[in-house]
């Protein structure tokens, strides 16, 4: 039985009418029209569907849409500022950190959580964090480089990273 509810996605209100069993990833894609969040396994292993829920990276295939009411939901569509790419997106392009692009939104949101938290992970910490998501094209090295370089740039240009201290 479908139920009406509201989600806050990328700062906007999204009116949903869906069954309670519908997973958040499907709600975002089908009811909010945001297909940038991809579904790679539906059992919480691959991380392609990673989004931010109240600033924390979460697998949206393991959350029901209805459970996300009241939360601040962020998806890949919310990263760029108009035509201007987020520094993470720019770094992915410059480091050739994507090929097919299917896992990319998940890795970007994982990176966005780090970016916004102000965290400065060591190389080993970053490697451990990024090991939560699967990529089948790149062999990961360039993804790690891209995120590390974006975090470095954030720390060297504090004025540009206003998101870091809300």
């Amino acid at each position: 039985m479908k139920q009406p509810y509201h989600l806050q996605v990328n700062g906007r209100d999204c009116a949903v009418e869906a069954e309670p069993r519908k997973i958040l990833a499907d709600v975002l894609r089908e009811d909010c029209g945001l297909t940038g969040t991809h579904i790679g396994c539906e059992h919480g292993v691959c991380g392609a569907c990673t989004i931010l829920l109240d600033g924390k990276p979460v697998r949206s295939c393991l959350v029901f849409g209805i459970q996300a009411q009241g939360a601040d939901i962020r998806t890949v569509e919310g990263l760029a500022d108009g035509d201007e790419l987020h520094p993470l997106q720019q770094a992915f392009m410059e480091h050739h950190a994507l090929q097919c692009g299917f896992c990319t939104p998940g890795f970007l949101m994982l990176g966005a959580a780090l970016w916004e938290s102000g965290a400065k992970p060591t190389e080993a910490e970053l490697q451990a964090l990024l090991s939560s998501n699967l990529c089948r094209c790149t062999g990961y090295g360039n993804i790690q480089k891209a995120i590390a370089s974006a975090l470095d740039a954030r720390d060297q240009a504090p004025k540009r990273s206003g998101e870091g201290a809300p």
Binding site: E19, R21, K22, D26, R29, L34, T35, G36, T37, H38, I39, G40, C41, E42, H43, V45, C46, A48, T75, V76, E77, L79, A80, L85, Q89, F92, M93, E94, H96, L98, Q99, C100, G101, F102, C103, T104, P105, L108, Q127, A128, L130, S131, S132, N133, L134, C135, R136, C137, T138, G139, Y140, G141, N142, I143, Q144
Partner: protein
């Protein structure tokens, strides 16, 4: 010249993919679409005794349910290329008829208004089976595929030289039995297909196409008895291909058939569990190899007999992997006499086909284990044994006396010894050997491994490309190529930009749309950059001539005095002369500025590589840690070195999966045990070590004007072999590693087993 060809420019593909604007199969929505769900066989081999579909049919939202009898008038899925008639009875129908042969086989198709409802309906379907004995070992006794049909449809055989004489004069004979595990491409995007029937124009459309849209259009047109003009395939973004995505599967036909019969668009998106039991598997082979060697470790003759586990049906490739295994097995070594027999065997497992480096990943493992065994038996350095057997540079072009993919294997160019030297130096092989001795003395299990191999690419006979100036002055290249994430848009734009004197970012590359161009080879077997790239080059040369001639007429200057820079045609000398932009030229001559270019070739071109590995084994956990790895690969000419390295790095990670982690396992009843990502272990960043890549351009191909050799597979080809070689070295047991992947259980047995 812009000289953008050969540069590390950023990709044209990236922006939509980074901003969530990609258009993958799952992202497509058509008004009124239905969702398909497949109920799959739960019995690995049996007769369908009864089906209970009524409860599913009664579920609100279910529009139709089909079983095999409902579509019995349709033929099985055919081979893409002409194949031996002996293979025909082993093709798969789009839904099972009477008998099922693997767990995961489509038995019933459900069509409903919502994906969740379709899945609910599938849960309500009950199918009863009379179980038959299962065949799970391709090298064991023959089983029965159907009454009167055994499980070996064909045995392929090739060879050259006097093999008997080689063994008669051998100093020693080495025999090994080697197995490669069952694994596959497993792209991050599962399969997806949307069938749509445009009744107004009588056009049947398949969205979610990939890899070989035009070849698949041909196959589907034959299947449905429709003319090409009334059946089109459309490729959106594709979340990885690796050989397995974009083949035609039962589900592709079912959505199209349903769109025709039900009169509504029909969408199917595979779930991961289905993918791991229904999309093509690959690799599983058992080899029995014998080598005759002289006292210096030179291989005089090589005999191989292998069993290829094809799974339950023969899919679109026919016997291609068996053929490639035989044709490419000798690799970079001379081997004066060779004979190989490949038994293609059906088993009650998921059907198998090509996956990145098909036949070469397997054959390289076998050949390189043999080289290490030769060195071990004779007490020689494994590098020296390899050097003594290499095809020398001055023997190029080198006709192997073998065929593969219907052409003669003629190694076109290469300096195998030269690349080996470069790789050893870069890796500091000798320095590492000394360091390893010291660590071994402290009780560590550390080892170095090597694989040398030859890849193949650029299979002909031809491809074409069309190029033209758009009314806004931009350039459009229309190809029948396909994009699977490899960067084909950027590569083709770089090739054309260089010739045309335009910014590569002003070029738009069309691919994967059968209604835009009537031909195209797609993207597979490392063919696209070689064939479509050279066709694009040719088309760009012709377009440049047309532009120059038109501009010369308008500017009243000789062609030789003109150049194109940043999309403006102007006089070569001085900045004040007359000029005209491509945009203005296109406005003046709206139908003139386009061309079509073709590239033809009779032979494949052969890139080659060296993989070097250093591993450390943990004697307690029996885990293999890869400490360092180098891939050295000669691609003739790199269109975009960053993308070449990207291909190599990605291929390496996949090869590593097959070497250490990934394996489709089955229980004794044929139940697949690797149907989640918790069981089928794709390497994460934690498992993939920092990789060193050496891309060389020492041996451009003489077979195409750009000198290109394909770069898509060499990162993967040698990984199983090199890791196995390093593990054997760490164990100090040259013949211990007989099976891939080297799982902890297998390593444990080797650690405790005989020398």
């Amino acid at each position: 010249m812009n000289a953008v060809l050969g540069r590390r420019v950023t990709r044209l593909e990236d922006r939509p993919l980074l901003t969530g604007c990609g258009r993958f199969a799952g992202d497509m929505v058509f008004e009124g679409q239905l969702y398909m769900r497949i109920a799959r066989a739960t019995c690995a081999h049996g007769r369908i005794a009864a089906m209970h579909l009524d409860a599913a049919k009664a579920l609100p939202g279910v529009v139709a349910i089909w079983a095999g009898d409902d579509i019995a008038d349709l033929p099985p899925i055919d081979f893409r290329d002409p194949a031996a008639t002996a293979l025909a009875p082993y093709r798969q129908t789009i839904l099972a008829r009477e008998r099922v042969r693997y767990i995961g086989e489509p038995v019933v198709a459900i069509f409903a208004t919502d994906a969740y409802i379709a899945e609910d309906a599938a849960e309500l379907i009950e199918i009863e089976y009379d179980e038959y004995p299962v065949t799970l070992d391709a090298s064991g006794p023959l089983g029965e595929f159907a009454p009167g049909l055994q499980t070996e449809p064909i045995m392929l055989e090739q060879g050259y030289g006097d093999i008997a004489a080689a063994f008669a004069r051998a100093h020693a004979v080495i025999e090994l039995t080697l197995k490669i595990g069952r694994h596959s491409g497993v792209p991050l995007e599962t399969r997806g297909a949307i069938g749509r029937y445009d009744a107004a124009n009588d056009i049947l459309e398949l969205h979610g196409a990939a890899k070989v849209p035009h070849r698949n259009q041909e196959a589907m047109a034959r299947f449905f008895g429709r003319d090409h003009a009334h059946l089109h395939l459309h490729e959106g973004h594709v979340g990885g291909g690796f050989g397995i995505r974009g083949e035609l599967y039962p589900e592709d036909f079912l959505v199209c058939l349903a769109a025709l019969r039900l009169g509504r668009p029909v969408k199917w998106i595979e779930d991961r569990r289905e993918h791991l039991m229904a999309a093509n598997h690959s690799r599983e082979q058992e080899h029995h190899i014998r080598a005759a060697i002289d006292k210096d470790g030179v291989v005089l003759g090589l005999e191989d007999e292998f069993f290829h586990d094809q799974g339950a049906y023969i899919r679109t490739h026919g016997a291609r992997v068996v053929d490639l295994t035989i044709g490419m097995l000798p690799g970079p070594y001379r081997i004066p006499a060779y004979r190989a027999k490949g038994h293609m065997r059906l088993t009650n497992k998921t059907p198998a086909a090509t996956y990145r480096s098909p036949g070469r990943y397997e054959g390289s493992f076998v050949r390189e284990r043999l080289m290490d065994a030769v060195a071990g038996r004779l007490g020689l350095d494994p590098i020296i044994v390899r050097q003594r057997n290499l095809v020398p540079k001055d023997a190029m072009p080198y006709a192997r006396g073998l065929g593969a993919l219907g052409t003669d294997v003629v190694l076109d160019s290469g300096d195998y010894a030269g690349l080996l030297d470069k790789a050893l130096k870069r890796f500091d092989w000798r320095g590492r050997q000394a360091a390893i001795q010291a660590r071994r003395a402290k009780g560590e299990y550390v080892g170095l491994g090597i694989c040398m191999f030859v890849e193949k690419s650029g299979l002909g006979p031809k491809d074409g490309a069309r190029i033209g100036v758009l009314p806004d002055g931009g350039i459009e290249i229309v190809t029948g190529s396909a994009s699977l994430g490899q960067g084909v848009e950027t590569a083709l734009a770089q090739i054309a930009a260089d010739t045309l004197g335009v910014d590569y970012r002003s070029i738009r590359v069309i691919h994967g749309q059968t209604d835009r161009i009537p031909y195209g080879i797609g993207a597979h077997a490392s063919r696209a950059t070689v064939l479509t790239g050279n066709a694009t080059h040719q088309a760009a040369i012709l377009l440049r001539e047309t532009i120059m001639k038109a501009a010369a007429d308008l500017l009243q200057l000789p062609v030789a005095s003109l150049l194109i820079r940043d999309s403006i045609v102007s006089a070569r000398e001085g900045g004040h002369g007359p000029s005209i932009s491509l945009r203005d030229l296109a406005v003046q001559m709206p139908d003139a500025l386009h061309s079509e270019g073709w590239f033809h070739t009779d032979h494949m071109t052969y890139p080659y590589g060296v993989h070097l590995a250093q591993v450390c084994l943990d004697a307690e956990t029996c885990l293999t840690k890869v400490e360092s790895y180098l891939v050295a690969y000669d691609v003739g000419r790199a269109v975009n070195p960053a993308m070449v390295e990207g291909q190599i790095a990605g291929g390496f990670a996949q090869g590593l999966g097959g070497a250490l982690y990934e394996e489709f396992r089955y229980d004794e009843r044929g139940e697949p045990l690797s149907v989640t990502f918790a069981d089928y272990l794709i390497p994460t960043l934690h498992e993939v070590p920092a990789l060193d890549i050496l891309v060389t351009e020492d041996a451009p191909s003489p077979l195409n004007p750009l000198g290109i050799k394909g770069a898509g597979e060499g990162g993967c080809t040698g990984v199983g072999a090199a890791i196995a070689s390093a593990v054997a070295d760490a164990l100090q047991k040259p013949e211990a590693v007989k099976t891939l992947p080297i799982t902890p259980q297998r390593l444990r047995n080797m650690l405790r087993g005989p020398a």
